[in-house]
Amino acid sequence: YYRYASLYFCCAIEDQDNELITLEIIHRYVELLDKYFGSVCELDIIFNFEKAYFILDEFLLGGEVQETSKKNVLKAIEQADLLQEVSTSNFSGLSVSMV
């Protein structure tokens, strides 16, 4: 686990996994949250828990890292958010394809 001020981020791993790189993964996730929310604090995570989950889903999948570049993860989240806003503002089915 890693402790950031009053928050503890814990991660469970198997016994053949590298413990030290897991610590790096935790750190990378916190950096992503920080970048996304802009200087993240505890309240940000509480009130936007679904966004925290979405960021996690872009970074890890099935327990493994899927994207090692911070930039790419954040870009994907931005695009998805945009899509969400477009669809809610249109209030209709979506057919916008953004690759």
Binding site: N18, E19, L20, I21, L23, E24, I25, R28, I46, F47, F49, E50, Y53, F54, D57, L61, G62, E64, V65, Q66, E67, T68, S69, K70, K71, N72, A76, Q79, A80, L83, Q84, V86, S87, T88, G93, L94, S95, V96, S97, M98, V99
Partner: protein, 786 residues
């Protein structure tokens, strides 16, 4: 009905609750609102409601009624709905719910959606919680996406494939063609996930492993580029480019190089390069080094590389970060068996870790220290370990004590040191010593004949002050019972003898009996000890009689039984008392396998209750021995009492193995002791390392006639200065034509080192008639008794 409150409102409201009850009330109210809203099939606000439900689920409240709603959200066309729907599915559903299968069709459609983010969502959900049925249905779609040109989707598809393989290993073949070009990727994300996919395939199937071995050079090249290439801000972590990818490649190399010389050789250079060039100031660098060390240890690397790896681990041990020290200790524990010498070099650092504040580190340091003890460093290590025993937490004490006993037994430089160490353990951690250690210690003490006086004196002094530690008191009472006469007569060579009177000894034993702190077992030991002293002490027999009769009416059944039996001994069988309470003979050595296993004890060394039993059973064979005496007619030959066949024949074999374990198998020539009428008996000799006056003779009887010999009994007699012990034979039938033998073990105690002579008597049935024969064996080789 009014619009349901927004998620944020809900969260804010719940956070204002000051007690658990208030919070529960709010949540229940909101759940009711959500439920009625679901019943109304309200499409507009469903997403909001499910989001609120998820929040409440996170707090720990039941949210299963939202599962179907998640499915409806997934089926919706709106991206927002789908996002929340899939999140809800991942949080609320798992394989155990029947509902999840309904998702399959939705996911299938979404996997083919025009928007990559929707496809991404579907892949993510499938990869996180897909059951085996779902995986089977959708594997084809995943495989298709693995080949698409969109790198965003390809990386997700790769990890999804990993999950599919984990759930349904048979489908691995399906993904094989897609993996052909995986490593040619430029995109780090796809590269990383591809490596994960390859790792998973190789771990699961040896065929795949062989197939992918040819990729080793390519992997090495990629790794090299990573290290050599310049600064790439995108993937950089504290100056190291893409550590996640590096670590994954190292892991794949580890799997590919295991048990394969060629691959291992191809990797040697790059591993050395990574090991020497990586920055160690930050955790990242250490993470990569750790993975490298694991890889070096696992493949068939050359010894220089292995030494390098162990040195890296040694450096880790000096690091301030306790995570790194922990990791180093764990890895060293794994490698200490194979690279013992290299690890020895870091022994002092490891011993220092015993003084660490962190409990997990202390435990690992303790285990590692035990693994490192050998004949050369045993004195120093023991000092450290005893100090550790003193100061460590109670949960360690039992393991530490057992470990110390084991190590002391294996590497003790001298008997006195061994006994001193045991005493130290008993006094510092006496109550944590395991119960099976007590009989072991007693047996050890009996075997070191010359140390009896010293031992009993030290034990006496130890319990004089404090008799609360049960194992210590048990061992001490037993010894005082056996060797009380040595204590009182004040003969001690090793230390200043102390002046003790018989009364003082009885005082201490009585206080053990009376004390509330003594366990029932301990009291049993004390009572038996007092009884034994009745033959060793001269002036206090009446006092002993009194004590024993008091306990004849004790509430404790065990004590009562003993006291009554001992009373009877005083009254009716007084003539037998000296013989029954004689000194215990030298016991056979029983090896312990480890602290966790039950120790096999010889019938004679079990609890004190049985102590009185063997001598009585020995009385019956005395009649047989008398017959032997008559037959042999010799007056200077003492009869031998074969051990009562109560020791199961099964253990005879086991004991034999135990004996062979610590016996010195130097080449003492074996002899043929008897050879007549087709019956041949060979003697083979072994001398014990720990007790030079014991010779172990193994007899082998073979039969070269055409008919078998049954009911074969072997008896032996030796001159008075020797002691003989005959163990149970392996069987009583010798098959014909030399096709099998009977083995039997004889132990001869020869303290005066006189020439060994033996008379043997053989009885057996052969060709329908009973045969018997007597013979004298004189041709013992000098090495067997000198």
């Amino acid at each position: 009905m009014p619009a349901p409150i927004r998620l944020r409102e809900l969260i804010r409201t719940i956070r204002t609750a000051r007690t658990q009850a208030e919070e529960r009330e709010m949540i229940q109210k909101e759940c009711a609102a959500i439920r009625s809203s679901f019943r109304e099939e309200d499409n507009t606000y469903r997403c909001r409601n499910v989001a609120k439900l998820l929040y409440m689920h996170m707090l720990g409240y039941p949210a299963h009624f939202g599962q179907l709603e998640c499915l409806k959200l997934i089926a919706s066309q709106k991206f927002t709905d789908k996002r929340i729907g899939y999140l809800g599915a991942m949080l609320l559903l798992d394989e155990r719910q029947d509902v999840h299968l309904l998702m399959t069709n939705c996911i299938k459609n979404d996997l083919n959606h025009s928007t990559q983010y929707v496809q991404g969502l579907a892949l993510c959900t499938l990869g996180c919680m897909g059951s085996s049925e779902m995986c089977r249905d959708l594997a084809g779609e995943v495989e298709k996406l693995l080949k698409t040109s969109n790198s965003y989707l390809r990386k997700k598809a790769a990890l999804c494939a990993v999950h599919v393989i984990r759930k349904v290993p048979e489908l691995m073949e399906m993904f094989l063609p897609a993996t052909k070009n995986l490593l040619n990727e430029k995109n780090h994300g796809v590269l990383h996930t591809s490596v994960v996919l390859l790792t998973e395939m190789c771990e699961r199937s040896p065929d795949m492993l062989a197939h992918f071995r040819k990729l080793v050079p390519q992997l090495v090249r990629i790794l090299k580029n990573l290290i050599m290439s310049g600064y790439s801000p995108e993937h950089d972590v504290s100056g190291i480019s893409d550590p996640f990818l590096q670590v994954r490649i190292l892991r794949l190399l580890r799997i590919l190089g295991r048990n394969d010389d060629d691959s291992s050789e191809a990797m040697n250079d790059i591993l050395a390069q990574v090991a020497t060039n990586t920055e160690t100031s930050k955790n990242v660098g250490n993470a990569i080094l750790y993975e490298t060390v694991l890889t070096i240890m696992d493949i068939k690397s050359e010894s220089g590389l292995r030494v390098l790896a162990i040195n890296i681990l040694g450096r880790f041990l000096l690091n301030n970060d306790k995570n790194i020290r922990y990791v180093a200790l764990t890895s060293l524990l794994k490698t200490v068996q194979t690279d013992h010498n290299a690890v020895q070099r870091h022994r002092s650092t490891i011993v220092d870790c015993l003084k660490d504040l962190d409990v997990s580190i202390k435990r690992r340091a303790m285990e590692l220290s035990f693994a490192l003890v050998n004949g050369n460093n045993v004195r120093g290590m023991m000092k450290e370990l005893l100090y550790f025993l003193d100061s460590c937490e109670p949960e360690f004490k039992a393991d530490c004590a057992s470990g110390i006993f084991l190590a002391a037994e294996k590497y003790a430089p001298s008997k006195r040191w061994h006994i001193d160490t045991i005493m130290r353990v008993l006094t510092t951690a006496g109550s944590y010593v395991r119960d099976d250690a007590v009989p072991n210690l007693i047996q050890l003490i009996t075997n070191s004949v010359e140390m009896h006086a010293y031992t009993v004196q030290r034990l006496y002094k130890a319990i004089l002050g404090d008799y609360s530690q049960q194992p210590l008191v048990q061992v001490a009472s037993w010894c005082i019972g056996e060797y009380g006469d040595l204590l009182v007569s004040g003969q001690c060579e090793e230390e200043e003898p102390i002046q003790v009177t018989e009364d003082e000894v009885l005082d201490i034993l009585e206080s053990v009996l009376i004390s509330n702190m003594s366990a029932s077992v301990t009291r049993g030991y004390a009572l038996t000890a007092i009884m034994k002293l009745s033959t060793r002490f001269t002036c206090t027999v009446n006092r002993i009689k009194k004590v024993v009769s008091i306990y004849g009416s004790s509430i404790d059944v065990e004590l009562q039984q003993r006291a009554v039996e001992y009373n009877a001994l005083f009254k009716k069988y007084d003539h037998m008392r000296p013989a029954l309470l004689e000194r215990m003979p030298v016991m056979e050595k029983v090896t312990t396998n480890g602290p966790a296993e039950i120790v096999q004890t010889n019938g004679e060394t079990e609890t004190a209750v049985l102590e009185t039993k063997p001598p009585p059973s020995g009385l019956q064979p005395a009649n047989q021995a008398n017959d032997l005496l008559d037959l042999l007619g010799g007056s200077d030959i003492t009869p031998v009492i074969p051990t009562a066949p109560t020791s199961k024949p099964a253990t005879a074999g086991g004991e034999l193995l135990d004996l062979l374990g610590d016996l010195n198998l130097t080449g003492i020539p074996s002899i043929t002791a008897y050879n007549k009428n087709g019956l041949k008996i060979d003697f083979t000799f072994e001398r014990s390392n720990t007790n030079p006056s014991v010779t172990v003779i193994t007899i082998q009887a073979s039969n070269s006639t055409e008919l078998e010999m049954t009911d074969f009994v072997f008896q032996a007699a030796v001159p008075k200065t020797f002691q003989l012990q005959l163990l149970s034979p392996s069987s009583s039938v010798i098959p014909a034509f030399n096709s099998g033998t009977i083995t039997q073990v004889i132990k001869v105690l020869n303290p005066q080192k006189q020439q060994l002579r033996m008379r043997i008597k053989l009885t057996y049935n052969h060709k329908g008639s009973a045969m018997q024969d007597l013979a004298e064996v004189n041709n013992f080789p000098p090495q067997s008794w000198q």
